[in-house]
Amino acid sequence: MKTKPKRVIGTAGKTCPVNDPRLSGEIQKQLYRWMALIRAFDTKMLGLQRQGRIGFYGPIKGQEAATVGSAAAFEKDDWIFPALREGGVTLMRGFPMEKIVAQLIGNAGDACRGRQMPCHYTFREGHYVSMSSVIATQLPHAVGAAYAARLRGHRIVVAAYLGDGATSENDFHTAMNFAGVWRVPVVFVCQNNQWAISVPFEKQTAASSIAVKASAYGFEGVRVDGNDVLAVYSATRAAADKARAGGGPALVECLTYRMEGHSSSDDPTKYRPAGEAESWVDKDPIARFRRHLESLQLWSDEDESSFQSVIADAIAQAVDTAERFGPPSVASLFEDVCSNGIPPHLREQLAEVSPAVHRP
């Protein structure tokens, strides 16, 4: 990690005035609430996975500032092309929590009808586009959507999220190159959590940062402290404003840390150096931002305990609602393969499935 990231909040909670976006107290508190909500939701979902109530989970823990700070910098009409760890953005964009849990369960309450693994949310109303599990494929999509928006005369910006591992993929290069040539309004937001499952950053690239890669494509890249929500917001907002004004694409690298395993199926103690994860506890983005808010008298222990109690109830209620849905219908297996309903050849295949055999 040779390139020093931009920072607003010191680890002691003090601010650096140069990069401070000078957000109102209310907006800062809202950023905090989102981060705390995402943490609480994440903890609960990993717990449900451990209890066997959902099949898989990709935790966000440690990356809440990178997620919230960047997503908050985009407007409501802007589009989000997420990677694995941006699920919290659906909450920020108003996706009902029970729908998120239903997706994790994969039941009939899931807007995607139980067709994908957990964490692969789609929320069209919130312009949160469906992701696949294939790494970096969403990046050219984001560039194409930004091209289309510009062609149609819409002043929107497209957020293209990726992790550090994705920067080794063909589609990262391709998307960055097309974006640079076309000068489209897209902001690449890289959550560099320093681990692509078990492969550390230095085995992913010999570059001093992800941010420097942008210059090869003819646009700006900036590295920020990804555990500093104000620094992330500030950099992303500047990039989005510039892109919206016709200034072309940008890359924001959020240097952060994945405090859990890659997923519920991963054991990071097998590959991480002893003590590394512990050293990041002090840099926990939520504790750090809370200290900052407390230093400005924007948040108190009472605020914390009442907010935690509200979100615990909301999450419990969402889980309860989501778990009441049954499995997706067998016919839904054959729907949405193409437009205009189930085509004849799939109707024949549906007829092969005996309802008696497949009753849940």
Binding site: V129, S130, P140, V143, G144, A148, L151, T174, F178, S339
Partner: protein, 324 residues
């Protein structure tokens, strides 16, 4: 009606649909000022401008990947992959993304991209300008695969593909780009996907084929007619979804089936046709089904004429099933 070559009909379809719907855009390598290496997009750049006729960087995954993003946003992109042999950098985008978007998003994000690409032998292009690998794509749920064999069909099928709401791989038989000539309706012209066409009626033997094999099958049918064998030829036109009813109709009429395709024989589309007929119409068959196909070798340069099925090989298969 105007007389056109197959590639002129492709060009006519693109122009007609671009005039009709400003959401239609074309993108790819050399599609702009040059008008494409085969001139399929000739004149589009001048008429519709650089924003809708986009010369892209040289990267197939980017061409298809950005086209997907455009389609998600509401455009109707028609990317060109210069040769089907170069489509593999985009294979991931086609198979994992394009074909799955509608399904995985629960219908929230359809991705109606029509990928045009010339396929097959006929230009002495060796491995990398000649292959016919439609089977990879027919095997991918969520993708439609279309192959015209006449100018009128090229225009009508391409227009239908563009107006539809599904991703389509539109395979253009480059061997007959300029040799297939015919009457093409002027203005708007649509041919529905999923419907086969009887090229010539016949009583004794059925041939099921598509694309550049159709003229070769017609030639073989003429040779067979001289020997007293009356051949019916069915042009599938769409490989996914294919017209099973039309296949069953011709086979139940003649009881003898030859399937012709220029792809490698094993697991080629002809294997699907053979299995389909074996499952649904075996009681009508008077002879084993015979496939005439490319070989399970890489596509050759000097021996292309040996590799690609020709009228004599097709005739031999016709005679084999006729005299079984």
């Amino acid at each position: 009606m105007a007389t056109m070559t197959l590639i002129q009909a492709v060009n006519d379809a693109l122009k007609t649909e671009m005039r009709r719907d400003d959401r239609v855009v074309v993108l790819g390598e050399d599609v702009g000022k040059k008008g494409g290496v085969f001139l399929a997009t000739e004149g589009l750049y001048d008429e519709f401008g650089a924003d809708r006729v986009i010369d892209t960087p040289l990267a197939e995954s980017g061409i298809v990947g950005t086209a997907i993003g455009m389609a998600l946003y509401g455009l109707k992109p028609v990317p060109e992959i210069q040769f089907m042999d170069f489509i593999y950098p985009a294979f991931d985008q086609i198979v994992s993304e394009l074909a799955k978007f509608r399904y995985r998003s629960g219908g929230q994000y359809p991705a109606p991209v029509v990928i045009r690409t010339p396929y097959g032998g006929g230009i002495k292009g060796g491995h990398y300008h000649s292959q016919s690998t439609e089977a990879f794509f027919v095997h991918t749920a969520g993708l439609k695969v279309v192959v015209p064999s006449t100018p009128a069909d090229a225009k009508g099928l391409l227009a239908s593909s563009i107006r539809g709401d599904d991703p389509v791989l539109f395979l253009e038989p480059k061997a007959i780009y300029r040799t297939a000539k015919g009457e093409v309706p002027e203005g708007e012209h649509l041919v529905p996907l999923g419907k086969a066409r009887v090229v010539r009626p016949g009583k004794n033997v059925s041939i099921v084929a598509y694309g550049a094999m159709i003229p070769r099958c017609e030639k073989a049918a003429e040779l067979a007619a001289a020997k007293g064998i009356d051949v019916e030829i069915l042009d599938l036109r769409t490989l996914m979804p294919y017209d099973g009813d039309a296949i069953l109709e011709t086979v139940s009429k003649t009881g003898r089936l030859v399937v012709v395709y220029e792809a490698a024989r094993t697991c080629g589309f002809g294997a699907e046709v053979s299995a389909f007929v074996a499952e649904r119409a075996i009681e009508y068959l008077e002879a084993p089904i015979v496939r005439v196909a490319g070989f399970d070798t890489p596509f050759p340069y000097s021996l292309e004429h040996v590799y690609v099925p020709d009228p004599n090989r097709i005739l031999a298969a016709i005679e084999k099933v006729a005299h079984f």
